[in-house]
C-alpha cells in the first residue's frame, strides 16, 4: 500500500491521529491513551497486517519523551512509523508486548534507559542495567555520570 492509501485507511481507523509525511515513511502521531487499541487494529486489520515490529525506541526531546514504533508488514511490505508523545515527568504508555512479542524485550530496554513505564507489561524489570540500579535513566539527556563519561 502506498503512503496515501495507508493514510486514508488509518484515518478511518483512528480519526484522532495526525500525520506527517516528510520522511521516508508515513509518520502517525497518536496519544498514549489511543495507542493500545490502535496497535491491535494495526496488527489484525485485514488490509494492514502490521505483524513485524522491527524497531521500538524512545527519544528524549528534553521537553517530552517520544515513543517511536517502526512497523512493517511481512504480507504487504509496507512500513509506518508510530509516534506517541509522553509526559516527561510521568511517562506512561500501554505495553504492546502481547501483540508483538519482541516488544517485551525492547520495552524493558526503554524502561530502564528512559524510565518509561509500560502498563500491563508482563515482566517489567531491569534487563541491561545491573540489579539494584538507582538513580537516573542513562539515555536521558540530563544524565550525568561523572566517573565514566568523558567529555570531549
Amino acid at each position: 500500500m502506498e503512503k496515501e492509501e495507508l493514510k486514508t485507511k488509518i484515518a478511518e481507523l483512528l480519526p484522532a491521529a495526525t500525520f506527517e509525511e516528510s520522511g521516508e515513511w508515513l509518520n502517525i502521531l497518536v496519544t498514549p491513551a489511543d495507542w493500545l487499541s490502535f496497535a491491535g487494529q494495526l496488527r489484525h486489520d485485514e488490509r494492514l497486517l502490521f505483524d513485524y515490529l522491527f524497531c521500538l525506541t524512545c527519544i528524549d526531546f528534553k521537553t517530552n519523551l517520544t515513543m517511536v514504533y517502526h512497523l512493517s508488514s511481512t504480507t504487504f511490505r509496507h512500513n509506518i512509523v508510530i509516534k506517541s508523545v509522553l509526559d516527561r515527568a510521568r511517562p506512561e504508555i500501554e505495553s504492546v508486548s502481547h501483540i508483538w512479542k519482541t516488544a517485551e524485550f525492547h520495552e524493558r530496554e526503554v524502561y530502564e534507559m528512559f524510565g518509561v513505564d509500560f502498563l500491563n507489561h508482563p515482566d517489567l524489570r531491569l534487563l541491561i542495567l545491573p540489579d539494584g540500579w538507582e538513580g537516573k535513566n542513562p539515555m536521558r539527556k540530563d544524565f550525568e555520570d561523572p566517573v565514566n563519561m568523558i567529555k570531549l
Binding site: G23, W25, F54, K101, T102, F105, L127, L152
Partner: protein, 389 residues
C-alpha cells in the same frame, strides 16, 4: 538413527514459573543454574538463568548488560564522521556491514551520491565479511555441539579473508573502511587477485564442511527438531536474518529493500521451512555459497572512478529522522538517526538483530534438553556485544 526427541510443542502446558523463584529458591524439583556470564557456550558475557526439571528446560531468562557500553549514548557526542568507527564494535563479526549501515544513513541524510566503484567494493567487502562471520559461526557452533576440529578448519578459510581485509583496510576485525560518501582508501592493487584465490580455495573446502559436520548422523540428530521457532513466532519476535529464514520468513533486506548494488547482482534468498536448528544451519551454509556467487559476479567488474564522493569538511545532517536497514550476517540492522541539524546526531538507535533473536530463545528452549540449548544458541548465532551494544 536415534529416536527423535519429543519436543514439547505446546509451551502453555508447562505451568507458569513463579517469579520469586529466580531470586531465591526454586519450586519443588526445579534446578536453577546460571549459564554465564562466563560459560564456554555463550561466546561472550551473556548470562542465562535456566530453570531445569532434571535435564528439561522450563524457562530461560537472559540477563544482559555485562558488555553494555552504551554505544547509542556515545554516538550522541561524536560527529557523523567519527561515530561510524564505534559501530564496528557492536557486531564485531560483521564490522563492515555495520559501518555500511551507518554510512548509508548519513549519505541518505546528506543526499550524497556514492560513486559506483565504492558501492561495488562495499558489496564485495560486505559479502566477504558475511562469509567470514558464517565461518566463525560454523566452527563455534560445531564446538558447542562437541566437535572441536571444525573450529580450526573454519579458521583456516577465515584467515584468508582476514588477510584480504588487512591488506585493504589495515585491520583484521574493526576496519573502519567506510566513510560517508564512499571508502577511506581505494582497494589494494592485489585485492582482486587475492579474492579470486580465496574463492577457488573456498569452493574446494566448503564440501569438506559437509563431510565433517553436515552429513554426520550425530549432528543431524542433535539439530533436527530442536529449537522449533514457528513462522508466526519468528515474525512476532522480530527475528531476522538466518534465524528467521530458517522458519521460512522472507526477510532478506538485500532483496526486499536493496541498497548499494544488490539490485544489480543475481543471488537467491535462502529460505528453509524446517523451523528447527538444522534449517537455520542449512540457511547459513547455503548463504555462504550465495555470497561467493555475488562476489564472483562483481570481482571482475569493479568500475573505474573515484572511490569517494566529494563531501563537505563538516557533515551536518538536516533536521529530521533517517532510518536505514541492511542485512548483516545475523539479520536486519537498523540505524535510526534523529538529527536536530547539528554536527552530532541528536539520538541514534541501533536496531540490532541479536537483541530480537535472543528474545525468541525462551520460547524455543522450553521443553527441550539442556544439551539442546547450546545447539539453539549456536544456530541463533548470538554475538553478545551486538545484543548489549
Amino acid at each position: 538413527m536415534f529416536r527423535e526427541t519429543e519436543i514439547v510443542k505446546d509451551v502453555s502446558s508447562i505451568p507458569p514459573f513463579p517469579q520469586d523463584a529466580v531470586q531465591g529458591g526454586g519450586g519443588a524439583g526445579d534446578l536453577i543454574i546460571n549459564v554465564g556470564p562466563q560459560h564456554p557456550a555463550t561466546h561472550g558475557v551473556l548470562h542465562l538463568v535456566i530453570t531445569l526439571n532434571g535435564e528439561t528446560i522450563k524457562k530461560v531468562e537472559p540477563h544482559l548488560g555485562y558488555i553494555h557500553r552504551s554505544i547509542e549514548k556515545m554516538c550522541e557526542s561524536l560527529t557523523y564522521r567519527q561515530f561510524i568507527y564505534v559501530t564496528s564494535r557492536m557486531d564485531y563479526l560483521s564490522a563492515h556491514i555495520n559501518n555500511h549501515a551507518c554510512a548509508l544513513c548519513v549519505e541518505k541524510g546528506m543526499q550524497i551520491e556514492v560513486p559506483d566503484r565504492a558501492q561495488v567494493i562495499r558489496v564485495i567487502m560486505d559479502e566477504l565479511t558475511r562469509i567470514a562471520s558464517h565461518e566463525l559461526w560454523w566452527g563455534a557452533m560445531a564446538m558447542d555441539i562437541g566437535a572441536f576440529t571444525p573450529f580450526f578448519h573454519a579458521f583456516r578459510e577465515r584467515e584468508k579473508i582476514n588477510e584480504i581485509m588487512e591488506e585493504t583496510c589495515g585491520a583484521r576485525l574493526t576496519m573502519n573502511y567506510y566513510v560517508p560518501g564512499g571508502l577511506r582508501a581505494d582497494m589494494h592493487p592485489d585485492f582482486q587477485k587475492k579474492v579470486k584465490e580465496f574463492i577457488v580455495l573456498f569452493k574446494r573446502k566448503i564440501d569438506e564442511y559437509d563431510e565433517l559436520v553436515t552429513g554426520n548422523i550425530i549432528f543431524i540428530n542433535r539439530m533436527k527438531g530442536v529449537g522449533m521457532l514457528s513462522k508466526e513466532d519468528a515474525v512476532s519476535f522480530g527475528c531476522s536474518g538466518p534465524a528467521a529464514r530458517g522458519s521460512g520468513v522472507h526477510c532478506d533486506i538485500r532483496k526486499l529493500y536493496p541498497y548499494a548494488v544488490y539490485d544489480k547482482v543475481e543471488f537467491d534468498e535462502i529460505l528453509e521451512t524446517g523451523c528447527d536448528s538444522l534449517a537455520r544451519y542449512m540457511v547459513r551454509i547455503r548463504e555462504m555459497k550465495q555470497s561467493v556467487r555475488i562476489i564472483e559476479q562483481l570481482i571482475d567488474h569493479i568500475p573505474e572512478g573515484d572511490f569517494q564522493a566529494k563531501t563537505k569538511a563538516v557533515l551536518k545532517l538536516p533536521k529530521g529522522e533517517f532510518y536505514t536497514r541492511v542485512e548483516t550476517a545475523r539479520g536486519e540492522l537498523g540505524v535510526y538517526i534523529v538529527s536536530e541539524g547539528a554536527t552530532t546526531p541528536y539520538r541514534i538507535k541501533f536496531r540490532s538483530p541479536g537483541f530480537s533473536n535472543l528474545s525468541a530463545l525462551d520460547s524455543m528452549a522450553r521443553g527441550s534438553k539442556l544439551g539442546d540449548l547450546v545447539a539453539m544458541m549456536g544456530t541463533l548465532d548470538l554475538v553478545i556485544p551486538d545484543i548489549d551494544r
